[in-house]
Amino acid sequence: MKEDGKIAIAAVATFFIFIITLGMGKYEFSPIGSLKILIESLAGKAPNGDPLANIVLQIRLPRVLAALLVGASLSVSGAGFQALFRNPLVSPDILGVLAGAGFGASLAILLNFPLPFVQAVAFGIGLAALGLSYTVAWRGGGARIVDLVLSGIIIGSLFKSLMSLVKFLADPESKLPQITYWLMGGLASSSWGDVEILALISVPSIAMLYLLRWRLDAFMLGEEEAKALGIKVEFYKAAVIVLSTLPAAASTVVAGLVGWIGLVIPHMARMIFGDSNRFTVPGSAIIGGAFLLVVDTISRAVLPSELPLEVLTSFVGVPFFAYLLRRRVYHGWS
C-alpha cells in the first residue's frame, strides 16, 4: 500500500540520518566510516585500539540512540493519548505525568541524590501522578475521558506548584541552576545507562501500542461505539494510558522536560502518512526519532554552544510544521 511504502521510505531515511549524524561532531567520520565502526562493534570486534572509534561507541552512539528513542517515545506517547482522548490538542503531559516526573527530579536534586536515584525518583513520582489522576477520575467501575482530562489538569498543576516550591527552596547559587537545566531538557550527558532505560521501558511500550493500533482506531469513535464493537473499553483505556505514559516518563527521566514534540509530531505523522493509527503510531515513532536526532545534532555539532532541547525543538520544528500545515489540506480532525 501507498502509506506503508511511505513509512518504509521514512524508516530508511531515518537510518541514513542516524549514520550521518553519528559521523558528525568534533571528530568527523564519513557515513561509511561510521557504518564500518558500527558493523565491527556489532560483530564483536572491539575497536579498542582506535581512539576515534571509541569516541563514537562510548560517547556519541549512546547520545544519538537516546535522541532517536526520546523523540520516538514522546511522539508515540502523544499519538496514543490523542487517539484515546479523541483530541488533537492532547500531549503526553495530559495526565500530569511529566509534571510529576519534573517534581520528582527537582526534589531528588535538591536532596543531593546521585543521578540514578534522581532518575528513579522522577520516574516513580511521574507514575504516581498518573495513579493520582486515575484515582480522582475513577468512579463506578471506570474513569470517563472527560473526568480524566480534568483530574489530569488538576494533578498536573499540583505537581507544577510543588516543583515551584522546590525551586523556591533551592539554593540559588548551586541547586537552582542545576534543577533548571535538568528541567529544560538535554541529551548532553546521555550514557549507555540512559539508552538502557529507554530500551527497557520505551521500546516495549511503543511496540505494544503498535500492536494495538487497530484498537486505537476504534477508540476514535468514542467509548460507547467502541464498546458496541466488542472492545473491553476500561481495560484498553487503562492499557493505552499506561503504554503511552511509560515512554514519556522514561524520556523525561533521560532528557528532562522536552515539550512540544509529543503534541506536534503525531500531527506531522498524520499529515504525511494518514490518520489511521496504523500509520500514526509507526509514523510518529520514525518522524519523532529523526526529528529529535536532527535537532540534537544541530545543538551538538553545528552550534558553537549547546542550546536546551526545549528551545531548539521549537526553532527547528515550527517552520517545518508551518510548511506542512500550509501545503496539505488536513481533513482528519475537522
Binding site: 468514542g222 464493537l229 466488542g230 482528519g332
Partner: protein, 264 residues
C-alpha cells in the same frame, strides 16, 4: 443466523436513584423481521436500544440472543450477535471511509493482530453494496449526513451479526436518503437479519415494520403489527396532537393536523 431470536424480558432501567427511565419492557424479534420502536422524544427509545445492545445494564439483566444472555458473555461475543448504528453519528472521526467501515470487523480481529484478507473483502463488498465505493478514500468527516449514515450502516453490516439496532436511521436525512435508509433495512431483513430501529415517524413503521412497539414515558403502551398499534387513538395519546389516518391502496398514511392540539 436464521432462527435466532432476540428477547428482552421484563427489564427496567433507571438513570437516577428513584426515577425510572424504563419500566418493565419486554419484546422479541426474530431473524428476518423488522421491529419499529416508535415514540416521542424522551419516551426511552434510545435508552432501550442501548440496553438491547448491552451498553446499559438493566434490571433484571435479561436480554438474550438465541438463548445467550448478552450480559453473561464477553464484549467481543456480544458484538458478534448484535450491531449498532447510533443516532448521533460522530462527524469528527479522522479516518477514511474504508477504514471506518473496517472497524466493524473489530470483534472478529484478535486484539494484537491485523485485519485479514477476508475482513478486507467483506468491507469491499459492503462498500459496493451500499454505493460507497467511490467514497472509500474520502475522509469520514467530509461526507454528507446521508453518506455518513450509510457508512455507519455498512460498518454495522460487516460486523456480520444476526441482529442490528439502528437508532433513528432516517434522522436528518433528505427525502430520498430517508427512502434509501428504509430500503436498506428491508434488504437487510430479507437477508435474514433481525432489524430493530427507532423512529419518530409512524409512516416509516407502517412502511417497513413487521411489528411496532409504541413507547410512552418509559413504558410500552402497545405493541403488535402496524395495523394494531398505529391508529388515531394511540397516536393521539402518545403525541398529544390530532392525527388522521388516510387509507389508500390498502396502506395507512398518518397525517398530523396542524392547529388541532389536544388539551392535556
Amino acid at each position: 443466523m436464521d432462527g435466532a431470536e432476540l428477547k428482552v424480558e421484563g427489564v427496567s432501567y433507571s438513570y437516577g436513584r428513584d426515577d425510572f427511565s424504563l419500566k418493565n419492557i419486554s419484546l422479541s424479534l426474530k431473524g428476518g423481521e423488522i421491529l419499529a420502536l416508535l415514540g416521542p422524544n424522551g419516551s426511552g427509545k434510545t435508552t432501550l436500544t442501548k440496553i438491547v445492545l448491552g451498553i446499559l445494564k438493566p434490571h433484571p439483566p435479561s436480554v438474550t440472543v438465541g438463548g445467550v444472555n448478552l450480559f453473561e458473555v464477553t464484549e467481543k461475543e456480544r458484538a458478534k450477535l448484535i450491531a449498532w448504528v447510533p443516532q448521533e453519528i460522530m462527524k469528527n472521526v479522522p479516518l477514511r471511509v474504508e477504514d471506518f467501515v473496517l472497524l466493524g470487523r473489530t470483534p472478529h480481529i484478535s486484539p494484537l493482530s491485523i485485519p485479514s484478507d477476508l475482513d478486507r473483502k467483506l468491507v469491499a463488498e459492503a462498500l459496493r453494496k451500499f454505493g460507497l465505493e467511490i467514497l472509500a478514500k474520502r475522509y469520514f468527516s467530509q461526507l454528507s449526513g446521508g453518506e455518513r449514515r450509510l457508512a455507519s450502516i455498512a460498518r454495522a453490516y460487516v460486523q456480520g451479526t444476526p441482529f442490528m439496532v439502528l437508532d433513528e436511521p432516517t434522522a436528518y436525512l433528505d427525502f430520498k436518503n430517508k427512502l434509501l435508509a428504509l430500503k436498506v433495512m428491508k434488504e437487510l431483513a430479507q437477508e435474514g437479519r433481525g432489524i430493530l430501529f427507532t423512529t419518530h415517524d409512524p409512516n416509516e413503521a407502517v412502511e417497513i415494520a413487521d411489528q411496532v412497539v409504541l413507547m410512552y414515558r418509559g413504558e410500552i403502551l402497545i405493541s403488535g403489527n402496524p395495523d394494531e398499534v398505529i391508529n388515531e387513538e394511540t397516536l393521539e395519546k402518545v403525541y398529544g396532537i390530532k392525527v388522521k389516518i388516510v387509507r389508500s391502496n390498502g396502506r395507512a398514511y398518518v397525517t398530523p393536523s396542524i392547529g388541532q392540539h389536544i388539551e392535556a
